[in-house]
Structure formats: C-alpha cells, structure tokens
C-alpha cells in the first residue's frame, strides 16, 4: 500500500475559508475539464459540467436532484443494473430538464465510455463504491462518490492512489464536512478554541445490529435486462440469485457488501473526528475494545472513541479539549462548553448535500482538491475498518499509518484486503 504525499488539510481549510479559489480562477485564463480537450463539438466545459450517475437508488435520487439544481450541471445518463431503477432515474432527469434526452444504461462501461461526460455521481451499494470509483477515474472522469468509500482497507487505498495517479477530482459523499453545524464544531477543535484536544467521540449505528454472512436460498435469476445479477454482485463472492440480497435492508448488514454499523455512521462521524484532529493523512495507531465501544488513539495522543449514543439525535460527534467541548448531531442538537463558544447564528440541522456538491463542482473547474478528497476519506474509513477488525478478532491492535499495516498481527493484516472476483480488479 503506498502512502499519500502530504497534508491537504490546511489547504482545504484555507481555500474554503477565503476567496483564494476565486483569486486563482481570476489569475488562470481558463480552467477546463477533461472532456473539453476531446471537444466533439461540445460547448466549452467551463460553462457546464456534464454528469452521469452509476447506481440510482434512494441516495442517488436525492443527491442527483441537488446536482441538477446547479445551473452549471447537465445530467445526461443514469446507469443501474436494475431496470426499474435506471428507468426511474431517467424519468427524474428527463422531468427536471423537460425532455427525454437522458440515457439509461445497464452497463457502466457504456456510460463511462461517453466522451462528453466530465464527472460521475457514484451511488452504488457500499461494496461497489471503490471499484466504480477506480473505473471512473480510469475513464478520465471526476466523481462524487458516496460513502462508505470501501468495505476493506485495501480498496480505499486503491481509490486514493488511483485518483492521484490520474489527477482526478474526487469528493466523498461525507457531506457533513460541508454542513454548517458540523463545520462549526470542527472549526472549534481545529482553531484551538477547545484548548488542547483530548478525546473525540464518534457515534456508530446501533450496536444491536451485528453483521452476518448469510447465503440465501436460490431463486430463479431474472433476465439480465431486468436485473443483472452477476454485475450486481460485482467483486463479491458469487452465490445464486435471491431477490433479498438487493434490498438495502439486507445487504447493508452483510459483511460481503458492507462494513456494518461502524462504517455506516463512522464514515461520517469518524471522518469528522479525523478532520477535527487535522488527521486527514493518518489514522489512529492503536485500537482496543471497552465494552461495546472501540477506543483508539492517534500518534499525537488524542483519543478516539467509537460509541453510541451521543447527544439527542443521531450520527453525532463530541470533541473534548482541555478548555471546552462541543457536541453536535444531525438533529440540530449542538451543545458547547463554555457557552461563549456557542454559534452566533442558527446553524440548521440535518445534513443537506448542497454545499458539498457545490464544493465538488467548483473543484472540478479549478482542479483543486475537494473538502473530502480520496486520501482523507480513505484514512477515516481505515479507522472504521480497523475498529471492525479489532472487534471481530476480539483483541487490541496496533496500526502503522505509514506502512498501513497492523503491527505483529498477520490475521488482522489479511483482513485489510479481499480478493476480487474475476474479472474485476481495482
């Protein structure tokens, strides 16, 4: 596993907090996207980012709506292995634009082969995120890719490497990095307003959900056009078709397709802790269990606790320092100590993707790295996977964030990776 070249945190913070992006744009004559070079009669890409979508489910429907609401975006294609989904996606896009131009694709290679598409929204099931992201990058396209970025550590390492290899702009769908109340909390931590940072709490999804490895009884396989079963399985171990696999309620609790409750929420909450700790280029170095929780600490001594619940809402985080603390979740609950740290204006609640989508689009134009780039997303999901492995093996683990390997634990190291089913590779 190769390593990242350096920190991006200060840059992101600076670019987000100042007008530097605009200044850069002014200074640069024209910033163009990949497809502009191929031309093919298209208007200059700097005026409009042409997008496609891989995986049209509930999440994609919401995020794609936000993309389509951006004046500089044109969505032209939707790909899904399920006929009903891709037709639903096409209908949503066509309704938005008042035409019938959106193309529905069964095969992701066909949509990726389109020269006129600059960027993709990748919103597949968790276990397809990394593979789809790498394929998209190889096709020369930028992407907004949903989280969790991977189901094993090696996958997201490959994503980060591939993005760097091809100079792609990548935004992980960890949109809380762009949502006011979470940005506020991270800012308190990063600016030292909580004093010396001591402990970071990241909420995980309910602990009573333990993943499983069930194989379901075989059912007659649908026609490929209706539901391409083999493609749905993608890199996972093959098994006969059963319609229940494709239900999110089922696959998101299955180790072959998901990282379970820790990655489901941890991909947001651990990610926020990573950012608060200025740790986008590293991960905690030691993990151990305390009751149902996983504790970890970083090389800088700051402790990370994966626990639940936190606060009154869901998907919360709490950052504690020597001089104060902040607690925030997506219900709008935000608490600080001392009170002088409270926000000066209402910060809203929930976790809208608007700002995050906008940041991605701006970066596509400027070729800057996004607020949730692949390296940062990899490092935060690595912490989640390491916590999972710690729980699964039932023993403390030490992690070397430079080599990205567990120290002295061969079994844990084997769990970093998972062989892809042929013909897939990262």
């Amino acid at each position: 596993m190769s390593r990242s070249p350096g920190k991006r945190v200060n840059r992101r913070e600076f670019l987000r907090g100042t007008a530097a992006t605009a200044a850069t744009l002014v200074a640069a004559p024209t910033i163009i996207t990949s497809s502009a070079l191929g031309a093919n009669g298209r208007p200059p890409a700097s005026e409009r980012i042409v997008m496609g979508n891989i995986g049209y489910g509930g999440r994609a429907s919401g995020v794609l709506d936000v993309f389509m609401a951006q004046p500089d975006v044109q969505v032209v294609g939707v790909c899904d292995v399920k006929q009903q989904r891709r037709e639903l996606g096409k209908k949503a896009v066509d309704n938005k634009y008042g035409n019938r131009d959106c193309q529905a694709y069964l095969d992701l290679f066909e949509i990726l082969a389109r020269d006129d598409i600059d960027a993709m929204l990748v919103a597949t099931g968790d276990y397809w995120h990394s593979l789809a992201a790498c394929l998209t990058a190889r096709a020369g396209k930028d992407m907004y890719c949903e989280k969790p970025l991977s189901v094993v550590i090696a996958e997201s390492r490959a994503v980060a490497d591939t993005m760097r290899r091809f100079g792609r702009v990548f935004q992980c769908g960890t949109q809380r990095r762009s949502v006011d109340q979470f940005v506020f909390a991270m800012d308190l931590a990063r600016r030292g307003l909580l004093g010396e940072l001591k402990t970071l709490y990241a909420e995980t999804a309910p602990a009573w959900l333990e993943p499983y490895e069930t194989r379901l009884p075989a059912e007659p396989e649908p026609a490929r056009e209706e539901f391409w079963w083999d493609r749905w399985l993608g890199p996972a171990l093959w098994r006969p078709y059963n319609h229940q696999y494709a239900s999110r309620g089922f696959w998101s609790g299955h180790w072959d397709f998901s990282g379970g409750s820790i990655t489901e929420w941890g991909s947001h909450t651990v990610d926020l802790c990573q950012f608060a700790n200025d740790a986008d280029d590293t991960s905690p170095v030691e993990y151990w269990q305390e009751g149902p929780d996983v504790h970890a600490h970083y090389a800088n001594g700051i402790k990370l606790v994966l626990t639940q619940p936190i606060g009154q809402g869901s998907c919360g985080v709490r950052f504690e320092g020597t001089e104060g603390w902040v607690e925030v979740d997506d219900s709008g609950h935000l608490e600080v100590h001392p009170k002088s740290l409270r926000p000066r204006r209402g910060l809203g609640k929930g976790y809208p993707v608007d700002n995050h989508v906008r940041n991605f689009l701006d970066c596509v134009k400027t070729r800057q790295q996004t607020v949730a780039d692949a390296e940062g997303a990899h490092r935060s999901i690595t912490a989640c996977h390491a916590a999972n492995i710690c729980k699964r093996l039932g023993r403390p683990l030490r992690w070397d964030p430079a080599k990205e390997e567990f120290i002295g634990d061969d079994q844990a190291n084997r769990m970093r990776t998972r062989a892809y089913r042929q013909p897939w590779r990262l």
Partner: protein, 828 residues
Amino acid sequence: MQANKWFLALGVLAGLWIIGPAAAQEKVATCDEEIAASRANPQALADLEKRCIQVLQGDSTPEQKDRAGRILRVIGSPDSIPALAALLREEDTSHLARYVLEPMPYPQADQALRQGLAQASGDVRLGIIHSLGVRQDPEAAAVLIPLLQGSDLEAAAAAWALGRIATPPAARALADLRAAAPPKRRAIAAEASLIEAEQYLARGQMDQAARVYQQLQSSNWPEPVRIGAFVGYLQARPDEAVPIVLRTISGADATMRAVAIDNISTLQGEGIAKRFAAELPKLPAATQVILIDALAARGDRAALAEVTAAAASTDAAVRTAAIRALSVIGDETSVPVLAGALAAGASPTETQAAYAALQRLSGNRVDEAIVRSMKAAETATRTELIMVLSDRRAARAVPDLLAEAAAGDDAVREAAFRALAELAEPQHAANVVRLLVELRGDAVRADAERTVSAVVRRIENQSDQTPLLRGAFDSTRDSQARCSLLRVLKAIGDRQAFDLVRNAIQDQDAAVRDTALRTLADWPDEMALDALLAIYRETAEQTPRVMVLRGIVRLLNQTQRPTTETVQTCDLLLQRARDAGETKLVLACLAKVADPAALKLVEPCLERPDVQAEAQLAALQIAGAIGGADLQASRALAMRIQESTRNPANRRQAQELLQRFERLGDYLVAWQVAGPYLKPDGDYIDLLDSPFPPEEKNADGISWRLLPLSDKAERPWMFDLQAALGGNTRAAYARTWIHSDTEQPARLLFGTDDGGKVWFNEKVVHRDGAGGAAVPDEHQVDVTLQAGWNTLVLKVLQDTGPWEFCLRLRTPAGQPPTGVRVQAQPPQ
C-alpha cells in the same frame, strides 16, 4: 428523511420479516467467534484449519465451502495451500481459492498461483493474474510478460500486475509497451507505467520514477496520464519542483496550471516553502498572488517573513493575497499589520480580507494583541476590532469590553454591547444590568437591552433571572431604565416576568404603563392571551386597542389550542370589531386556521366591500389548507373568487389553488392527523412498534385534526407532516375512511418519510421502519375493500429532516377503482 443511516438497522428487521421466520433461522453468524477463540489455543487453531481443509476437499455444499474459505482467509497456514490450489483452476471455486490465497503471507501461495495460471483460462486466468499483481510476486514477471501479447483483457491484467511488480524485467517489458503499444493498448501501457513509477517512489528509487514520469508527460498521452505524471515527477524530483511549478503556472496550459497551483500546497521537500517564498519578489504580481495563496494553503510558517513583506506591496492584489495568507500562517506579530490594513482601508476587498484574517488568526496571544491594538485605535478601527474580538469568542476580553461599553463614543459602545451580548457570561450579568440602569439617552439603548437579555438568560437557574431584573427595576426611578427592564423581561418570558410586566400596567409613570402594555402585546407566548383579551374587552382607546388586538391575533396563530377554540375566539373578536381595520386583523388570523368552521366565519365578509379583498385571501388560504377534506366545496369557492374578484393578486392565488387541486390526481387527500407522539429515552427505531394512543382500542383524548394539503405547488398530494407537526424522532398517525359501493380488490400505493405502519380495517398490512425519502408508489399493498366504509390508518415515523407521506388507491390492474369515495371525518 433519515437517508442511509437506518437502513443498516433495518437489515435485521428486513431479514426477519421479509424473508420470514423460517429463512431468518438460516441467517449465518460470522466466523469471527471461531477465529477469535482459536487464537489463544494453537491446537484449536490447527483443528479448525484441518476441518476447513476437509470441507474444501470433500463433497461439502457451496455454503460450507464458502464458510471454510472465509475462515481460512484469516487463519490459513501453508497446510491449506494444496487444497486451495486444487480449487484455483475451477471456475466455480477459483475465486474462493484466491480469496484465501491472495492475502496469505507465504511464498507458497505465489507458487500456487503461478502454477494455477498455467492451467487456467478465461476469467479464471484474469483473476489469477490480478492476485499475482496484488501480491507483487517478483517471480511472476516471467510468466506475465508473454501475456502482454495476448488478448486485450489479458494484456491489460498482465500490464497492471507488472506495474505493481516493477522488477527490472517488468520495467523493460513496460518500457517496450510504452514505446510500441498500438493505440488501443496505450491506456493499458499508461496505467501500468504510472503504477510502476509509484512503486519506485515508494521504494525511494527516484531516478527510475522520474524517468517513467518524464516519458508520460509528453503530449501524446491522454491528459489524465499527463497530470498524474506531472505530479509524480514533482515528487520524484523535489529539487526541480520550484522552477517547474513556477514555469507551469506561467504557462499556457490552463489545466496543468491549475494542477501546478494545487500541488504547491502538498509538495514535500526540504525548505520548499522558503524556496517558493524567496522567489516572490522576482515574480509578476499576478503570479505572486497565486503563489501567496498556495503558500498559505501549505500552512507553512516558514514563508511568514516574505508574506508579511508582501502585505506592504504596492500592488493591491498582492497586498490582499498576503493579508489573506496571514490568516493562516500569521501569529500575534501579524496583528499590527492587519489592524493597520483595517485602518488604512485601501479598498473594501483589502479591508474585508484584513478583518477575516484577524478573525481567523491563531495563537494563544493573538486576542491580547488585538485588545492592545483596539485600545490604541481610532473610533472606526476600534469598533471593527471589538467586532473581531466578538467573532473570535475572546472571552478574556470581557473586562475591556465592559469598560468600552461604559463610556466613550456611541459607535464604540454599541459594538462593545454587541460583543458583550456574545461573550459575557452569568458572572457578568450584574455588570451589564448596571450598565443598562445607568445608561442615559437612547443612542445605544436597544443594544444594551439585547445584551442584558442575552446575558441574564444565560443564568443557569431560570428562577434567578427575573429577580435580578426585578431588583434593578425596584431600585431605580429612572423612567427610561425601568422601561428598558420591562422590555428585557419579555425576553425572559417566565411567569414571574409576566406578572411583573402585567402589574406595571398600573404603574404611576405613564411611560412605564405604555411600555408595559406594548410589552404585553408583544409577549412571546400564549401566557399573555387571556390578559390581552381582557384588556381588549375593556379598552376603548383606539391605539392601545389595535396594539392589543395585534398581539391577540399573533398569539392565536401560534397557540396549540384546538382550532375550534381559535374559531370561537375569532368569532367573538369579529363581533366586537369596531371597524374594517380590526376585522381585517381577525381575518388575517382566520386565514391560518385549517378548519371548515373558519371558512364559514369568513364567508359573510366576502360580501363586505370594505374587507372583501382580505376575506377572499383568507378564504383561499383556508380552502387551500382544508381542500382535501371537502375538495368540491373548496374548488367551488376558489372558482367563485376567481371569477368575481377584482383583486389581481387574489385572482392569481385562486388560479394557483385550482391548479393545485388539479394536480392532486387520484391521491387520497382527506386525512385527519394525530400527534406528534414521542417516546422518552427512545430512539427512532423504537417508535415503530411503540403503540401510541391511536393504536389502542377505545383510547380517549386523541386530538384528531384535519391535515392540511401541502403548500408545495408541484406536489400538493405529498402531505407535509414536518410543516403540520414539526420536530424529530417522533411519530404521527393519519386516518381516513374509504367507502366502496361493492366489495372489490384494491391496491394501496404509498410512500413515507421516514418509515411506518399501515392498518387497513384495523389489520396491519404494512410495516417498514426504513428511513429515506417518501417515494410515490414505493410500497404497494393489496387489500380488499369491503362494501361500505373501510378504515385506513397510517403511522408515519420521523427521524430527522423531511416528514411526509402520500398514498393512492388503485385496482390491482393499476386503474382507479370505481364506486369509491373518501372522507376525513368518521362516518356517521
């Protein structure tokens, strides 16, 4: 909508009740416990492995082999490899074998894969090539190189693996491929070469890496490859990075220019920031701006001296960039520079940049430095610096701010009060109350009152808040001060504060009496409603009467009382209204009451010329809200107003309402709603099976009320529970009655946000706790409509975000059913 998060929770649920109990019993626990248990006992580990090997070698089912593979993936020793090698060749089992072999730390695994490669074909062969690449087996190069001449898929896999292996033979093969690849294989060559170069970087073989990257920067490679090679080259040749980046920034290739700028912030190497900074004075101004921004993005304080110098540049853009950069790399020594820029005010852009930089400047001694600069500054800058201290949450500056608020220039005092509103804590409450009591004149009074309100409300024990103000109120005879304190009491808003204000209506001081009445009329909650109604009944004087009526109307619209009570009160107010002005106020109140009785109250006013426009508007708003309950009457009313009104705005609103009615289609729109219901200490998912009163037989005291149509023009059929009830982590119930002339099969098609349950004729026909957006027709349930009345009840859960549902009724063939009508009221 609680997208994503609850799906996991629902995995277990879905598994249990979608698959059914029998299938649920087949749910296979993970192998984790077996693996973890065996670790402490070498013999147990060996036994476990042995059993797994036997499973792989025997006539076990695919499920059993699958499980054995999952265990061996973690614990497998070289003993497992022969059994795995046998599986490697077979299409059905090859992946499982690689699943175990690929992460194994044993060279025997490489050997098995190499041998397997020779005997495999098709996709199985591709898989083995990939595993050899993942394992970076140097000995595999010899068998992979010939495959570069094979099919496209095989060549791509082999090239990728060779890139990862990156031994000298692999490098030579890839160099040949780069040099002579046919067009359709150039992408393969490029990716493999970039991967190869990455291996050199990781091994510290910078010359080899640079050589590959340099070749890939030529213009005949695709842009993504050139970008990757450019960035890689900078890593391989950090000593050359500064001139290369500067040259690229000044170049004509816009994409590479952007990439170069982006990379300044991540370049690694000894003294990079200092070397870039040293170039600053030699560069054209436009390039200086880019470079300063990029240096700031590095967050490297090594460039502080040069950036500080640039803040004094004769070029405005350079100065602004430097100021911006100081916000990241500056420290307390930057405060005088930034305060100076603030005072100089060379341009709005520069001033804003200086202000923002002072806001964000980090360091333990920055706040102190700002206080020093503030005390030394002239009024305008002093004011700005006070605002900066507030924005920085500089709590230690409160004593200085109290002093600034006490005396001096009004602008400075105003800023100081505003800052104190943000920064002062309960221990400062007495100080700020004293400042308010001693305040003379009106110049900063409003700010002082806001500050006192904010600070007193921070006193943790709420019952201590009003006594502090009461003490101040009783201790002064200054009329202005007492009026100020009354206004502050409104912000406290508790019963003690209310009583104090109500008693002040009898005060000897006319100004205090007037302020008390205004404060009461503006009271934030319905605590004041009865008192205001009493005053309204007894007051004849026009001005206070209108003021009080406005207060009543406002509170009626925010009351939680049943709508019938609001309508009754409005009825009384209409009867007592003395003129059109008062009637209009009451009509405005009725407009927000979703109750057919409100519409009846408005109807007589439609004929009164002096209030006709307001009555029409109120009628349309009520009709819009209750339209679902009596669509025919609401539509008729809207048409009547559309045709008769002379008011263009009302005509337009009537048209829009009619259009909304048209869009309702065949959705069921007559609903009553009850709730919200919360479960103390419960989580979202606990709500699903918690039986709240509407689920209990013969439960009393349930407040069912009409559910207004959504005000979303495009989707009026999507009922907005968030607008109607609001909040998070709760449940609501909606009910309606469906009359069918005959018994007939039907299908309920609906979507809910978040999850919920459905009862049809008192039987649960749907249960799903999954969060996410309400997708029309997402859920489909077949039911049988009895002849006569049928009851339909929905329970809709709310986690966070939107809270909605929509439902329609069709035949199983997808047609609207015939002989069916729906009503929101229980049938007689």
